[in-house]
């Protein structure tokens, strides 16, 4: 299959991107300054991320669509205000996660942002569940640009009037350069920021404008270190079809009202695990010293019994040390529990720790 390119591919090349294949797309892993510089620039200034490979699924409908979607997602969508976003997941009957996503209620229905590697299958699953009554559009004509970091609001405001009025996890349509952009105040770095949905033919010029105003392009490499410092899950690593939201320690993302009544796909398993507890739980892990424990690193107790596995591990540039997330047996999930990580045949000490590794700077309430 031919590798797909986003509408910003040329711009990445001009900016000396090193490319990798990611979910069938040629994506920039880093630019000339490297992952650590890019990471730090995002935390101190403003980073631009091309996330156009992600799916932008528009589903059109009225209250009957809301009712249908409540049978799928563990969210209180009836009480979700228009232009408000929620983090959620698409699950199977066993509460295994097909994908994690952001869903926003818009005037026309819903906008769901899906992972690139999952979006086509998600579309198929949702089509089957929703039937033919609702028009669905996995929009390939729009790019998705994230701008993240403390200077992002000033920079974006100077191009799109009024975006500074958005609260965290809300969005709206804005007019800029004779077209409609959908902007949400959200992101996946632990920083204040925005995601902008823009038609493909306008994306390059828009990003060039952001660069002129002082933002810089950031690759997927720094996106990974940023989200890991922020303690956020990445599908295919922390989350997959064999993990449930309870095991992934994402109970907060399930609406309280839905936890008592259920009625969504996977609710039985979730309610069972809520009572009995999950046998394994996602935790933050800090290796002692400088050792990096990568994905698939085995976790042991002091009696040489394997108690879990690392799902993501790297060096955290803002933490200035190694960080990781993984799953451990429930009895080892308390903060400050001593564990051992097997790296290159040797066992190294590490500690279970609280997430996030890096404190968030989200803007919660403006209005």
């Amino acid at each position: 299959m031919e590798i797909k390119k986003t509408s910003l591919n040329k711009l990445h090349q001009t900016n000396n991107a090193k490319f990798v294949e990611f979910a069938g797309y040629e994506m920039p892993i880093q630019y000339s300054k490297g992952i650590i510089e890019e990471h730090k620039f995002t935390r101190s200034h403003s980073g631009i991320f091309d996330v156009s490979h992600m799916g932008q699924l528009f589903i059109y409908g009225d209250e009957s669509l809301t009712e249908k979607l409540e049978k799928i997602f563990p969210l209180d969508l009836k009480n979700l205000k228009q232009n408000c976003s929620k983090y959620s997941f698409l699950m199977n009957e066993d509460a295994g996660i097909y994908d994690d996503l952001i869903i926003t209620k818009i005037e026309e229905g819903y906008l769901i942002i899906l992972n690139a590697a999952c979006k086509d299958k998600d579309f198929e699953i949702l089509s089957n569940l929703l039937g033919s009554k609702f028009k669905m559009n996995l929009d390939n004509n729009r790019s998705l640009i994230a701008i993240q970091g403390p200077k992002s609001v000033e920079i974006l405001k100077s191009i799109i009037n009024g975006v500074d009025q958005l609260n965290f996890m809300t969005g709206n349509w804005f007019d800029s350069d004779n077209q409609k952009l959908f902007v949400t105040r959200s992101g996946y770095t632990g920083e204040d920021g925005f995601e902008i949905s823009i038609s493909n033919d306008k994306a390059e010029k828009f990003v060039e404008n952001l660069i002129k105003k002082g933002a810089q392009l950031i690759g997927l490499g720094a996106r990974d270190t940023l989200r890991l410092e922020a303690g956020l899950c990445l599908y295919g690593h922390e989350l997959d079809i064999n993990k449930t939201p309870i095991e992934a320690n994402l109970r907060w993302a399930i609406s309280k009202s839905r936890l008592s009544n259920g009625g969504f796909i996977g609710s039985k398993k979730i309610m069972n695990q809520m009572q009995g507890g999950a046998s394994q739980i996602r935790v933050g892990i800090k290796p002692e010293g400088r050792l990096i424990a990568r994905e698939k690193t085995k976790i042991f107790d002091d009696k040489d019994t394997q108690i879990g596995e690392i799902t993501s591990g790297t060096f955290g540039p803002s933490v200035n040390g190694p960080i990781a997330m993984g799953y451990v047996n429930k009895e080892f999930s308390k903060v400050d529990t001593k564990i051992l990580l097997e790296v290159r045949g040797k066992k190294h000490p590490a500690n279970v720790c609280a997430l996030p590794f890096y404190k968030k700077n989200y803007v919660k309430g403006i209005n």
């Binding site: 892993i29 880093q30 490297g34 992952i35 650590i36 510089e37 490499g221 270190t225 400088r290 050792l291 990096i292 990568r294 790297t314 060096f315 540039p317 190694p322 290159r344």
Partner: protein
């Protein structure tokens, strides 16, 4: 000091008397990206030509460091373990990895000179 020689695994080596100093090339650091971890062989241990003699990790991945010649490890550079970013800053100078007392200096003969290595590095990265 002898001419600097290079291996296909992107190590550089110089010889002074029978003690070889070994590190990784600038080209290698450019391929690896930001180095955030380094592990070196133990002083007093013996390493064999083309065997592993350490590890470097970038933000992206871990890579083995090989030794282009055999010998006994007589010194290691603790400064790069304490601050691995030094490897990116000065890979072919102050950020050397380890020193070996060589057994067989003829092992140097099969290694590349600078011109040959530059050509090899250019070809292997394109």
């Amino acid at each position: 000091m002898s001419e600097v020689k290079f291996s296909k695994e992107h190590e550089w080596i110089t010889l002074e008397g029978d003690v070889a100093t070994i590190g990784i090339t600038k080209h290698a650091t450019e391929m690896l990206g930001d180095i955030v971890f380094a592990e070196l062989p133990e002083k007093g241990s013996n390493v064999e030509k083309d065997g592993t003699a350490g590890v470097v990790e970038s933000t992206k991945a871990a890579s083995d460091v090989y030794t282009p010649v055999s010998g006994e490890v007589v010194d290691t550079n603790q400064a790069i373990v304490d601050d691995p970013s030094k490897i990116n800053e000065d890979p072919e100078g102050s950020a050397w990895f380890f020193k070996l007392k060589m057994k067989d200096q003829s092992e140097m003969d099969s290694l590349m000179n600078k011109e040959e290595y530059d050509k090899f590095a250019k070809e292997s990265s394109s």
